[in-house]
Symmetry: C2
């Protein structure tokens, strides 16, 4: 589709000490990410602690973004819950505020459900929302949701609902899955859910990537995106891959928030909602130390 390209940032959600959303900081960060060159934002993804945020809060935040002057054509909010009714409500709201699209998880409570059942779920969702403005990006994140959106299901949905199912974010972390989506599924935008395979994915037709690391490393990821196809691409790809490594065993969301607090000098960024726990300053300092090592080329 003639849609979004480049780096899409699933923006982090800042909280106050009382765990309410820190709206000033939310808007400021969203604007900073766009100013840094992100082509769009995906508010309320896994990284944005979406499933720890209530429905009314999500809708109020989207409205606050648009009120603050953020172009809704650059917003693809997460709207997927475990049930049709509330997911449809969030989708309709996103359409009302003129978002470019919505990112939809499969219903993730019941496990071991079939592709046929998930196909019926998405069919019912599209029928319930019943709007030509509905642009669904499927959200495949099996490490967290456990319920997958398989390549076969993606292909079937793309074929059955052209114009409504327009893309997929593949956060499987499995390059073979991303490669299959890129080569086997026609007519939709396939975004890897990380910058790890950015250059390879672009070569196979991906329009860009949607990556949590954008929150803390946008400039370098964009540099790599722009260098794709040039001799510098491989080196830049290695650099952005290396930057991710030190975060891996720290708990990605608390660690990214700690880093953002460090980068911006704003301590509220360290706050997470339960059931996540904040990264301790001790661990944060270890993270900084590891990053130094990673970023210094070995002799």
């Amino acid at each position: 589709m003639a849609g979004l390209t480049g780096l899409i940032c699933p923006n982090l959600t800042p909280f106050e000490k009382d765990l309410s959303i820190a709206m000033d900081l939310y808007i400021e960060h969203a604007q900073r990410m766009l100013a840094a060159g992100c082509s769009a934002l995906a508010p309320f993804g896994t990284t944005g602690e979406a499933l720890s945020v209530g429905m009314d809060e999500r809708m109020a935040t989207l409205e606050a973004m648009v009120d603050a002057g953020i172009d809704p054509a650059k917003l693809v909010p997460g709207t997927g819950l475990t049930n049709l009714e509330d997911t449809a409500k969030l989708c309709r709201h996103a359409i009302d505020v003129k978002c470019a699209g919505v990112m939809v998880l499969p219903p993730f409570y019941y496990k071991g459900v079939s592709d046929e059942a998930l196909f019926q779920y998405f069919s019912a969702l599209i029928g319930t929302v019943n709007s030509p403005a509905l642009k669904i990006y499927l959200y495949h994140i099996p490490p967290v949701a456990q319920v997958p959106v398989s390549v076969e299901l993606t292909a079937r949905l793309a074929k059955a609902f052209p114009g409504a199912v327009v893309g997929i974010k593949d956060s499987s972390g499995d390059w073979n899955n991303t490669k299959r989506l890129l080569t086997e599924v026609k007519g939709i935008a396939v975004f890897p859910g990380s910058e790890n395979p950015l250059v390879e994915a672009l070569a196979l037709g991906a329009p860009g990537c949607i990556s949590a690391t954008a929150n803390i490393n946008a400039e370098n990821i964009i540099r790599c995106y722009k260098a794709a196809g040039t001799p510098k691409a491989a080196e830049l790809q290695e650099q952005i891959r290396a930057y991710r490594l030190p975060f891996q065993d720290m708990g990605a969301i608390p660690a990214q928030k700690w880093m953002l607090a460090h980068q911006t000098g704003e301590p509220r960024w360290k706050i997470v909602r339960p059931p996540l726990l904040p990264l301790s300053d001790e661990r944060g300092k270890e993270l900084l130390k590891r990053l130094e090592t990673v970023l210094e080329p070995a002799a």
Copy 2:
């Protein structure tokens, strides 16, 4: 606690062909379960396809039950979602309609979270709802939710919030876990989430059980409950255990709904919401055949 005893039925949720809740059937079944001797109902548990039902639908259904004359002192609705705000909203609503308690899942989107984080979640929930009428039954169902409520977490919550954390439904299917809860955690009601260990659990102080099979086999489970401590108990326990077996590989919820359709002659009971799929009549007939074999004592 001086609370609920006996068989609590996590009542099934019937749907119309258009997938809206079949309210007449919902109320009729709820009343039938109470008339059959169930001491209480647990609407919107896993069996009630709670996570496939929207927030507004849940609240409207609870109100319809009370309006129909069902005593809210016999209702313990499920209110657990993945986030604090919406879970608190459903808890407050249940308190407003004077339910006996609420059954609360741990937040189940993020996996691998710590007991400390879950403790903070439930603490924040209790603080947010902020009502002496809040009576929480923890809901431990690791095969589905994946996120557990461990024995240690249960004990810590029971100790920290006496009067607010009043019980647990243990749907682990792991008798060792239920036994540990019954013997190690003081001051709360421990309900096995099935009738499989009913007699043993009652002997260790369980007040009863909360079991999906109540929907289709209430009389026999209640007979066993009443026979506990008598010479007939063991045989009745074996009978109700045997009745469950044929359902196991059929998909419990669609199979129970098919059976209820068969028992009541009401075809709407066969309908499930995606991502579940209905049991086919072919499989249903196989289920009936298996049940005959199970219920006929071997020669």
